[in-house]
C-alpha cells in the first residue's frame, strides 16, 4: 500500500516536472499547438498560464469571454465542426489584437482623432494593389470606420479597369483570418522581433559571415520594385549571400523562349483589341496569369454584339481556337476547341507551324498531325487570312519549345508589334530578370543545404516545404541549416520546419508597391493598423541588409524619391506621392514595348529546347495515361487554402468545392472501368460518393477521388494543386483532417506540369466530392439560347423566333383575369431596376460570386453542407455542356442571381409577407419577418433562394465581425435569403443623389457582381431611363427572359443570347 502511494506521488511529480519542462524548455515539435489536444498526443503548447493550467477558472474565463466557443463546443454535429472552428476563434487577436502594437506614429487608419472625411456610415475607398501571380492588380479598398470590408477594382489601373477576380475579393477574408500568425515564434514559443533579430545578428557576426557567405534568401516572384531594389542592395552589401526562388507556378519559360527567340529576356504583352483570330495553346488567358482581367476585358470587347436586328449583318466577333487538355474558362469560350493531351500540344504547334509554311524540325508525333489535319489546316488558313490581326498564345504550362513556336508563328503572321509586344520581364526575381532558371535555383539551394553550405536561410513568403517538387528533398535538407527564419502570413508547413517564424503583414496592413502585367506601378498603402505583430518583407529585408529597423513607408518612399530623382522632403515629391497614392497608379511607369526581331537561328534553339524533353516524347502516347498538373482555380497552389470563400467557390468548370479530384474524360473513365458514384446527400446539387483511385507516377502515389468531366482530353488525368495541406489552418486542412489530396507528391522538377506513365488503380474506397452542379445537360430546355454569328446574321431574331408562339399566347391568356398575382405600377418617376447578363461575355470566372459573398455577408457552410445542396451563394454560375457528353460541342455559362420577377412566384406563397415587391420593382426579402416555411424557394423556378438550414452566420468571432458589411443584415438560422440587387447600394445612391439634389443617373448604382465582372457581362440600371445602358442592351434582338414564356414570371434579370463565331469556311468544325 505504501509503495503504491509512493508510486502515485512520483507520477504526480513527473507530471509537474513535465509541465515545468514545458514552461522552461519548449522544444521544437511537429505537432499542433491546439490547447485542446489531449495530453499524450504530442507536446502541448499554451497561450497563457491559465490555459496551461487548464483550470475550471480558465474554462469559465473562456466561456465568459468567448461564449461562442462554449456554444459551439456543445454542438454535437460533426459537420459543423469547421463552423465551430471559425466561430471559436479564440484568436486572442481579432478585436484585442489592435492593442498589442504601439499607437500609430504615422498617418494611417484607424484614426485617433476623427478627420474630416470620416463620416460614420459612409465608406472610404483607398487605392491599393494586390500582387498575385507575380504582378499586381489595382484595387480600391472599401473601409468602414477603419475596417477594410471589401475590395473593388481600380478603374484607373490598367490590369483591372475596375474589375477584380475572386481571389482579390477573398483577400479581405484573409486579413481577418483568425489562423494568421500573430507573433514571432521560436520553436513554437512566443518571442519578440528583437529576439529574432538578435539571433540573426549573432549568426551573421560569426567568423566568415561578414560577406553573407552562408546566407541564403528564398523568395517567390517579386512584384514590388522597391523590394527588387532592396534585394539588389542586399546583394551589394552581402556579395556572398545568394537569392533563390520558389514558386509553384514559375512562368520563366516564356522569358526563356523570348531569350531564345529574340536574344533577350522579355515578357509578352497581348493586345486582344487588335486580334481578330486567337489561338491558345493550352493558355487559360481569360482566367490565369498577371494580365488576365485586362485580357478578358479586351478579348470580350471584340466579341460583344450590340447591334439592332437590322444591322445584324455588320456584327463582328473575334474567333478563338483553343487547344488544351482540361477544360478551362478560356476553352469554354472557344469557338473551336480541341482536347489534346498536354504533351501533344507541342506536336500540334509544330504541325501548325509546318502547315503555315515555317520550316521546323520534324514533329515528334506524326499522329497528331494526321488525326487533326482538318483542324490544323483550318487554323493555319484562318491565321493566314488575318495576318497582323491574329495572335498565338502559348500557356505557361507548356515547355519553352511551344513558347518559341508561338513566337515564331506570331512573327510569321506579322503579329509582333501588332497584337503582341515584348517588354522587359515583368514577373521575375530581380529587376534585370537575371534568374530565369527558377527550378534550377531552387534545386541549387536544396543541394547547398544538403552539403551544409547554408548557415542561415531566410524564407520570405511562399511555402516551399509544401509546394516543392517531390524529387527535391527540400524539407529533409532544411533541417541541416543551423538558422532558419520564415516570414509568412500563416504558421504553415514551412514555418513548422523553421526555428523562427516571423509574422508577415497582410497587404492591407503594410506599405509596399507592385507592378502590373504591363509594368504600371502602384503604391500599396495600408488601410488598417496591423492586427498582429506582423512586418512586411521590406522591413525584414532592411533588417537583413544592414540591421536597420526602417518602417516600410520610409523604404517605399525612399525608393520612389530615387526613382523620381526628387528629394524626399520636397513638395514636388509629396505632390507626386500623394497623386500616386490617390490614383492607385504611378504615372509613366508602364513599360514600353521593345523592338524585337526573331533570331534566324530560332529553329536550332527550338531543337535544343526540345531535346531536353526527348526522353519522354518517344513513347507510344496511347499505351499509358498522362497526368497534368494545374493550379487550382480557386486556391492556386494552396496559398489561399485557409480562405473559406475560395474553398467554397465552385470551380468554374467542374463546380467542385472543398477539394480536388483526378479529372478524366468519360471515355477514359469507361476504359478504366470507373464511373460516377452514388449520390451524396444533395444529389447532383450536392455531389457524389466518388471512387477513390490510386495515382502512381515514378513510384510515388497518392489517393484521389475520380471525377468525370466531358471535354477533357482522353487518356489523361488532370489534378489540381493546392490541396491536402496539413498545416493550413482550420479551414484549409490540418494534420487531422486535410481538404483534398496533395498532388505535389507526384510532381517532379522535370515534369512540373505534365508527365507520362501514370498508373491508375482503383481502390475500394469512396469519397464525397461536393459539387454544386453535376448535371451538365439542359435536357432540351432552352435555358441557354445560343447561335453562331452567321446564324444570327441570317436570322437576327432567332431568339424570339425560337419561342413557341402558341405557348406564349397560352401563358399570357392564362395570366388574364382572376389571378393571385397583384399588378404593380412602376411608371416614372419611380425607378424600375433591372439587370441584363450577356452570355457571350460571361467567362464563368466566379468574380461575381465572390464579390457578392463579400458584399452581402454570405456565410460559408463547409463541405458537408455543400454536399447536401445547401451552399449559400446568392449568385451562381450555371455551367452547361451542349452536345454529347463524350464529345461536347460547347460549354455555356449562365450567371443566375435573383430574377426579381414582376410576377414573383415566391411572393404569393409566403404566408407572412416576408417577401414582397418594392415600389421600384425589387423582390425584397424581409429577414426578420421570415419564419422559414421555404415555400418561396420551392416555388421559385430559378431556385435562386438560399435558406439558413442551420446557424451558418458567424455572429461571434471578432475577426469575421470586423469584415461584415455594416449595411447588410447578417442572417440568422431559419431564414430565407437571396440576391437583393445590392439594395443597400441602391439606397446609398438614392440618398446621395437626394443630398446633392439631382436625379439618379445611369451608373450611380453598380451592384457588387457587376463591379467585379471583368468582361462587363452584367449590366444594371433603371429600365425607366431610356438612355440607360441596361435599357438599351435589353432592346437587343438577342434579349430573352428565362422561363418567362412558360411561367409568365416577367423576370427583371434577363439575358442576351450567347453568340459564337465558328469558322464559316470549316464544315463540321
Amino acid at each position: 500500500m505504501g509503495s503504491l502511494e509512493t508510486g502515485v506521488g512520483s507520477k504526480e511529480e513527473d507530471r509537474t516536472r513535465d509541465r515545468m519542462n514545458q514552461i522552461l524548455f519548449a522544444i521544437s515539435d511537429q505537432h499542433t499547438t491546439a490547447a485542446s489536444k489531449p495530453a499524450g498526443v504530442g507536446r502541448r503548447y499554451w497561450r497563457s498560464l491559465e490555459e496551461f493550467c487548464d483550470t475550471d477558472e480558465f474554462r469559465r474565463l473562456v466561456q465568459r469571454e468567448y461564449p461562442s466557443q462554449a456554444a459551439f463546443a456543445l454542438d454535437p454535429l460533426n459537420r459543423r465542426k469547421f463552423l465551430s472552428l471559425m466561430g471559436a476563434s479564440l484568436a486572442l487577436a481579432g478585436a484585442s489584437g489592435c492593442s498589442i502594437t504601439p499607437a500609430p506614429t504615422t498617418e494611417i487608419v484607424p484614426y485617433v482623432r476623427r478627420p474630416e472625411d470620416i463620416v460614420p456610415g459612409k465608406p472610404l475607398f483607398f487605392a491599393s494593389a494586390m500582387a498575385h501571380d507575380g504582378a499586381a492588380v489595382g484595387l480600391l479598398i472599401e473601409t468602414h470606420e477603419g475596417r477594410p470590408t471589401k475590395v473593388e477594382g481600380n478603374p484607373d489601373h490598367p490590369a483591372s479597369l475596375g474589375a477584380t477576380s475572386a481571389i482579390h475579393q477573398a483577400s479581405v477574408l484573409d486579413l481577418y483570418d483568425p489562423d494568421r500568425s500573430q507573433s514571432v515564434r521560436y520553436l513554437g514559443e512566443t518571442r519578440t522581433w528583437d529576439d529574432a533579430i538578435d539571433a540573426f545578428r549573432a549568426m551573421m557576426s560569426e567568423p566568415g559571415q561578414q560577406r553573407g557567405g552562408g546566407l541564403r534568401l528564398l523568395i517567390g516572384t517579386v512584384a514590388s520594385p522597391t523590394l527588387r531594389r532592396q534585394l539588389e542592395s542586399l546583394q551589394q552589401r552581402l556579395p556572398d549571400a545568394r537569392l533563390h526562388t520558389c514558386e509553384s507556378a514559375p512562368n520563366e519559360r516564356a522569358l526563356q523562349a523570348a531569350r531564345a527567340g529574340f536574344g533577350e529576356h522579355g515578357s509578352p504583352r497581348y493586345d486582344f483589341t487588335k486580334a481578330d483570330v486567337v489561338l491558345s495553346l493550352d493558355a487559360d488567358f481569360l482566367y490565369e496569369g498577371p494580365g488576365h482581367l485586362r485580357y478578358a476585358a479586351d478579348f470580350i470587347s471584340r466579341r460583344r454584339v450590340r447591334t439592332s436586328a437590322a444591322d445584324a449583318r455588320q456584327a463582328t466577333m473575334n474567333r478563338l481556337y483553343v487547344v488544351e487538355p482540361a477544360v478551362t474558362c478560356t476553352g469554354a469560350k472557344a469557338d473551336h476547341r480541341l482536347a489534346l493531351r498536354a504533351s501533344e500540344v507541342e506536336a500540334f504547334a509544330r504541325s501548325l507551324a509546318r502547315e503555315a509554311g515555317l520550316s521546323t524540325p520534324a514533329a515528334a508525333h506524326g499522329d497528331v498531325r494526321s488525326r487533326h489535319s482538318t483542324w490544323i489546316s483550318a487554323v493555319a488558313h484562318d491565321l493566314e487570312a488575318h495576318r497582323g490581326r491574329c495572335l498565338v498564345i502559348a500557356g505557361d504550362r507548356q515547355p519553352a519549345s511551344v513558347q518559341l513556336l508561338a513566337i515564331a508563328l506570331n512573327d510569321h503572321f506579322g503579329n509582333i508589334g501588332q497584337t503582341v509586344e515584348y517588354t522587359r520581364p515583368i514577373a521575375s526575381l530581380l529587376a534585370n530578370g537575371s534568374t530565369t532558371d527558377w527550378i534550377g535555383s531552387f534545386r541549387d539551394l536544396t543541394d547547398a543545404m544538403g552539403q551544409g553550405a547554408v548557415k542561415c536561410l531566410v524564407i520570405l513568403g511562399g511555402n516551399p516545404v509544401y509546394t516543392a517538387p517531390a524529387d527535391i528533398p527540400f524539407a529533409e535538407n532544411l533541417a541541416k541549416v543551423p538558422l532558419r527564419l520564415r516570414l509568412g502570413l500563416h504558421e504553415d508547413e514551412t514555418s513548422r520546419l523553421c526555428q523562427w517564424h516571423l509574422p508577415e503583414t497582410h497587404f492591407m496592413e503594410a506599405w509596399s508597391d507592385a507592378i502590373a502585367y504591363d509594368g504600371t506601378a502602384t503604391i500599396v498603402q495600408p488601410v488598417i493598423e496591423p492586427l498582429y505583430e506582423g512586418r512586411s518583407a521590406h522591413e525584414v529585408v532592411a533588417i537583413l541588409t544592414d540591421s536597420r529597423e526602417v518602417p516600410g513607408r520610409a523604404i517605399v518612399r525612399e525608393y520612389w524619391a530615387n526613382e523620381w530623382k526628387l528629394d524626399l522632403g520636397s513638395s514636388e515629391f509629396e505632390t507626386r506621392w500623394q497623386t500616386a497614392l490617390h490614383d492607385g497608379v504611378v504615372e509613366g511607369t508602364r513599360l514600353p514595348a521593345q523592338t524585337v526581331t526573331l533570331n534566324t537561328r530560332w529553329q536550332s534553339e527550338l531543337a535544343r529546347e526540345s531535346s531536353q524533353l526527348e526522353g519522354s516524347q518517344n513513347e507510344d502516347p496511347t499505351s499509358s495515361l498522362e497526368i497534368a498538373f494545374a493550379m487550382d482555380p480557386s486556391i492556386c497552389d494552396g496559398r489561399f487554402a485557409n480562405n473559406g470563400w475560395l474553398q467554397e467557390l465552385p470551380k468554374p468548370i467542374t463546380k467542385i468545392t472543398w477539394g480536388n479530384t483526378a479529372i478524366v474524360s468519360p471515355a477514359t473513365a469507361k476504359r478504366l472501368g470507373l464511373g460516377m458514384g452514388s449520390y451524396a446527400h444533395g444529389g447532383e446539387h450536392g455531389g457524389y460518393h466518388m471512387p477513390v483511385v490510386t495515382l502512381t507516377l515514378d513510384g510515388r502515389s497518392v489517393d484521389a477521388p475520380l471525377w468525370i468531366m466531358p471535354g477533357h482530353a482522353d487518356d489523361a488525368v488532370t489534378v489540381h494543386l493546392g490541396f491536402g495541406r496539413r498545416h493550413a489552418g482550420r479551414i484549409g486542412g490540418s494534420s487531422d483532417e486535410t481538404v483534398g489530396f496533395n498532388a505535389n507528391l507526384l510532381r517532379t522538377a522535370n515534369s512540373l506540369w505534365f508527365a507520362r506513365d501514370l498508373k491508375i488503380t482503383a481502390t475500394d474506397q469512396t469519397e464525397i466530392v461536393a459539387c454544386t452542379q453535376a448535371h451538365h445537360q439542359m435536357e432540351g430546355r432552352d435555358s441557354i439560347r445560343a447561335a453562331s454569328l452567321n446564324n444570327f446574321q441570317e436570322h437576327p431574331n432567332f431568339v424570339s423566333q425560337a419561342i413557341d408562339d402558341e405557348r406564349r399566347e397560352r401563358t399570357l391568356r392564362a395570366a388574364d383575369g382572376l389571378s393571385l398575382l397583384t399588378p404593380h405600377n412602376y411608371d416614372p418617376p419611380r425607378h424600375k431596376w433591372g439587370m441584363l447578363i450577356d452570355l457571350t461575355s460571361c467567362i464563368g470566372c466566379n468574380a461575381c460570386v465572390a464579390a457578392c459573398q463579400a458584399e452581402n455577408n454570405i456565410p460559408v457552410v463547409g463541405k458537408d453542407e455543400v454536399s447536401r445542396g445547401r451552399e449559400m451563394h446568392w449568385i451562381r454560375i450555371d455551367r452547361y455542356v451542349a452536345g454529347d457528353a463524350d464529345v461536347p460541342k460547347a460549354f455555356h455559362f449562365q450567371p443566375l442571381p435573383c430574377m426579381h420577377c414582376e410576377n414573383a412566384p415566391c411572393e404569393y406563397v409566403c404566408p407572412v409577407e416576408a417577401t414582397v415587391h418594392s415600389a421600384d420593382g425589387l423582390n425584397d426579402m424581409i429577414y426578420n419577418r421570415c419564419v422559414g416555411t421555404r415555400f418561396c424557394s420551392n416555388n421559385c423556378p430559378y431556385k435562386v433562394r438560399r435558406f439558413n438550414f442551420l446557424a451558418y452566420s458567424d455572429f461571434d468571432s471578432p475577426g469575421r465581425r470586423m469584415q461584415y458589411n455594416p449595411d447588410v443584415t447578417v442572417r440568422s438560422r431559419g431564414v430565407m435569403e437571396k440576391c437583393t440587387y445590392c439594395v443597400q447600394r441602391i439606397r446609398h445612391a438614392e440618398i446621395g443623389a437626394e443630398t446633392e439634389d439631382r436625379p439618379l443617373v445611369d451608373g450611380d448604382v453598380i451592384t457588387a457582381c457587376q463591379a467585379a465582372c471583368p468582361t462587363q457581362a452584367i449590366v444594371f440600371g433603371d429600365l425607366n431611363d431610356p438612355q440607360s445602358q441596361v435599357k438599351q442592351a435589353k432592346d437587343s434582338p438577342l434579349h430573352y427572359s428565362l422561363l418567362d414564356e412558360e411561367l409568365n414570371t416577367r423576370p427583371r434579370t434577363t439575358y442576351l443570347a450567347e453568340l459564337r463565331n465558328p469558322n464559316p469556311d470549316w464544315e463540321g468544325g
Partner: protein, 472 residues
C-alpha cells in the same frame, strides 16, 4: 331509458330501405341494455389493465420519447438536421403532415357524413374513428410548426392584432392551411366530445372510484339524461354533423392547394383537391381497420364491431383506392396529353427507371392500386388478416404517395442546373416514427379512459329502444 328519443328515429325514409338489398344487421347481438353498457364501460372501469396494454404503451411512449428528443434537438439546431436542400426544401415534415391530416379524415367522415347518410354501421366504430381523427390531427398539426425555420414565430401565420398591423399574406395556401386544419380540428374535437357526453355520464354513474366520478362528472357537464337534454343533444349533434361535412371535403382540398397553387411541375394540378380527398378517406379508413381489428379482439367487442363492419370499410377502401388510382392515371395522362416539357419530364421521371425515385412510385402503385384489388373477393374482404395487411400497405402507400409528390416534383424542376436529390437523415425518420408514438400513446390512453364505443348510440340500436319498434 327505453322511451328516450333516438338518433335512428330521424332516419325513416322508406325509400332507402326499399332500395337496399337485404342489408346486414348491425345490431349488437346477444346484448341487452345492461350487458351492453357493462361490457363497454367495464373495459375502462372494471377490467384490470392488461399486460398487452402496458407493453404497447411502453413501446408507444418510448417512441414518443424519441419524438420529444428529436424535437428538442430540432429546435436547438435547426431544420438542417433533416435531409433538406435547396431544390427539395420540403421533405418528411410536409409528407408526414399531409399523411396525418389524411388519416384524420375518416373519423369525421364516419361521424358526420355517414350520420347524415343514415349509415347504421357507423355506430360501432365512430368513437374509435373520431378519437383517431383527433390524435392524427394532433400529430399533423405539429409538423408544419416543426417544419418552420423559426418555429417560435409560428403564430405569425395566424391573424392576430399586433402593433405592426401585419396580417398574414392571405394569398398563401399555407395560411389557408392554418384555417382549414385548425377549424377542422376544432369541429372534430367538439363533435367528438359532444357525442361522448351521454357516455361520460354513464361512466360517471358507474365509476367505482371517487376520482373517476369527479373526473367523468366534470366532463359529463351535468348530463342528467332528461328528454330536454336529449333533445338539445341530438339537434346539436346533427348540426355539428352538418357543419363538419363540408370540412371533411374542404380540409384536404386546402391542403392539396399547398401544392396545386404552386407552379412547381407535378404540383400545379387542378385534379389535386378531389384526388387528395379521396386519398385521405382511403388512408383514414385503412387506419380505422388497422385500429378496429385488434381492439375488437382484445376487448372482446366482436358483437359490436362485426365482420360486416369490417367488410363495409373494406369496400370503402376498395372504392377510394379506385378513385385514387384514377387520380394517378389522370395525372400521367394529362401530362402526356398536355405536353408541357417540364411537367412531362417530372411525370415520366416518377415512373421511369432512370431515376431512383421510380421505386417509390411503383411501390405506391402496388400498395394503393394493386393490393386493394384483392378486396373485390368477398371471402378475402371478410378476412381480418387480409384486411390488416391491405390497410397497412395502404397506409405505407399513401405516405409514399405524398413523399413522391413532394420530392420528385421538387428535385427536378425547371432549370436542370439546380436538380438535386433528397436523402433523408436519421432525424427525418425519428420525427416520423416518433409521431406514430405520439398517436399510439394518445390512443392507448384513450382506450383506458373513455368508452371506446358509443354506448348510448349502440343502446339505441337494441330492440326495444324505440318503444314498439323492434330492431329493423
Amino acid at each position: 331509458m327505453a322511451d328516450r328519443p333516438s338518433l335512428v328515429r330521424i332516419e325513416k325514409p322508406a325509400v332507402a330501405v326499399a332500395a337496399a338489398a337485404p342489408l346486414p344487421d348491425y345490431t349488437p347481438r346477444g346484448h341487452d341494455f345492461t350487458s351492453l353498457t357493462a361490457h363497454i364501460s367495464d373495459v375502462v372501469l372494471v377490467k384490470p389493465t392488461g399486460l398487452g396494454w402496458f407493453t404497447s404503451f411502453g413501446a408507444a411512449s418510448l417512441l414518443l420519447l424519441l419524438f420529444g428528443g428529436a424535437i428538442v434537438f430540432l429546435l436547438m439546431t435547426g431544420v438542417g438536421i433533416w435531409g433538406l436542400s435547396v431544390p427539395v426544401a420540403w421533405g418528411f415534415a410536409i409528407t408526414d403532415f399531409v399523411w396525418w391530416v389524411g388519416i384524420g379524415h375518416a373519423g369525421t367522415l364516419i361521424s358526420a357524413i355517414l350520420l347524415l347518410l343514415h349509415q347504421r354501421w357507423r355506430t360501432s366504430i365512430n368513437r374509435i374513428a373520431e378519437a383517431m381523427t383527433i390524435f392524427a390531427l394532433l400529430c399533423a398539426g405539429l409538423f408544419p410548426l416543426l417544419h418552420l425555420g423559426r418555429p417560435w414565430f409560428f403564430y405569425w401565420l395566424a391573424p392576430y392584432p399586433n402593433t405592426m398591423r401585419l396580417w398574414p399574406q392571405f394569398r398563401s395556401p399555407l395560411v389557408w392551411d392554418v384555417f382549414a386544419v385548425s377549424t377542422y380540428f376544432a369541429v372534430s374535437l367538439v363533435f367528438w366530445y359532444i357525442g361522448m357526453i351521454p357516455d361520460l355520464a354513464t361512466m360517471r354513474d358507474r365509476a367505482t372510484s371517487r376520482r373517476g366520478r369527479i373526473a367523468y362528472g366534470v366532463l359529463a357537464m351535468g348530463w342528467r339524461n332528461s328528454a330536454r337534454h336529449w333533445h338539445r343533444y341530438e339537434s346539436t349533434y346533427l348540426l355539428l354533423g352538418g357543419l363538419a361535412t363540408p370540412l371533411v371535403i374542404s380540409v384536404h382540398s386546402v391542403v392539396s392547394a399547398d401544392f396545386a397553387a404552386a407552379i412547381v411541375p407535378g404540383w400545379h394540378e387542378t385534379v389535386f383537391p378531389p384526388y387528395f380527398v379521396a386519398g385521405a378517406i382511403f388512408s383514414g379508413f385503412a387506419m380505422v381497420i388497422l385500429l378496429c381489428v385488434p381492439i375488437r379482439h382484445i376487448y372482446k367487442l366482436k358483437e359490436f364491431i362485426t365482420i360486416d363492419h369490417l367488410e363495409v370499410m373494406g369496400k370503402i377502401v376498395l372504392a377510394t383506392s379506385l378513385l385514387t388510382s384514377f387520380g394517378y392515371l389522370s395525372e400521367q395522362t394529362l401530362s402526356w396529353y398536355g405536353h408541357e416539357k417540364v411537367e412531362h419530364y417530372v411525370y415520366l421521371n416518377r415512373i421511369a427507371a432512370f431515376d431512383q425515385y421510380a421505386f417509390v412510385s411503383w411501390s405506391l402503385v402496388f400498395c394503393n392500386t394493386v393490393a386493394p384489388q384483392i378486396l373485390w373477393i368477398p371471402r378475402l374482404r371478410r378476412n381480418q388478416v387480409v384486411l390488416v395487411a391491405v390497410s397497412t400497405l395502404v397506409l405505407v402507400g399513401m405516405w409514399l404517395e405524398r413523399y413522391m409528390i413532394i420530392t420528385t416534383s421538387l428535385h427536378r424542376d425547371y432549370l436542370t442546373s439546380s436538380w438535386g436529390m433528397f436523402l433523408p437523415t436519421i432525424w427525418d425518420f425519428l420525427t416520423f416514427f416518433g409521431s406514430i408514438g405520439l398517436f399510439a400513446t394518445a390512443f392507448l390512453l384513450f382506450i383506458r379512459s373513455a368508452p371506446i364505443l358509443a354506448m348510448s348510440e349502440l343502446r339505441a340500436m337494441l330492440p326495444g329502444s324505440h318503444g314498439t319498434e323492434v330492431g329493423r
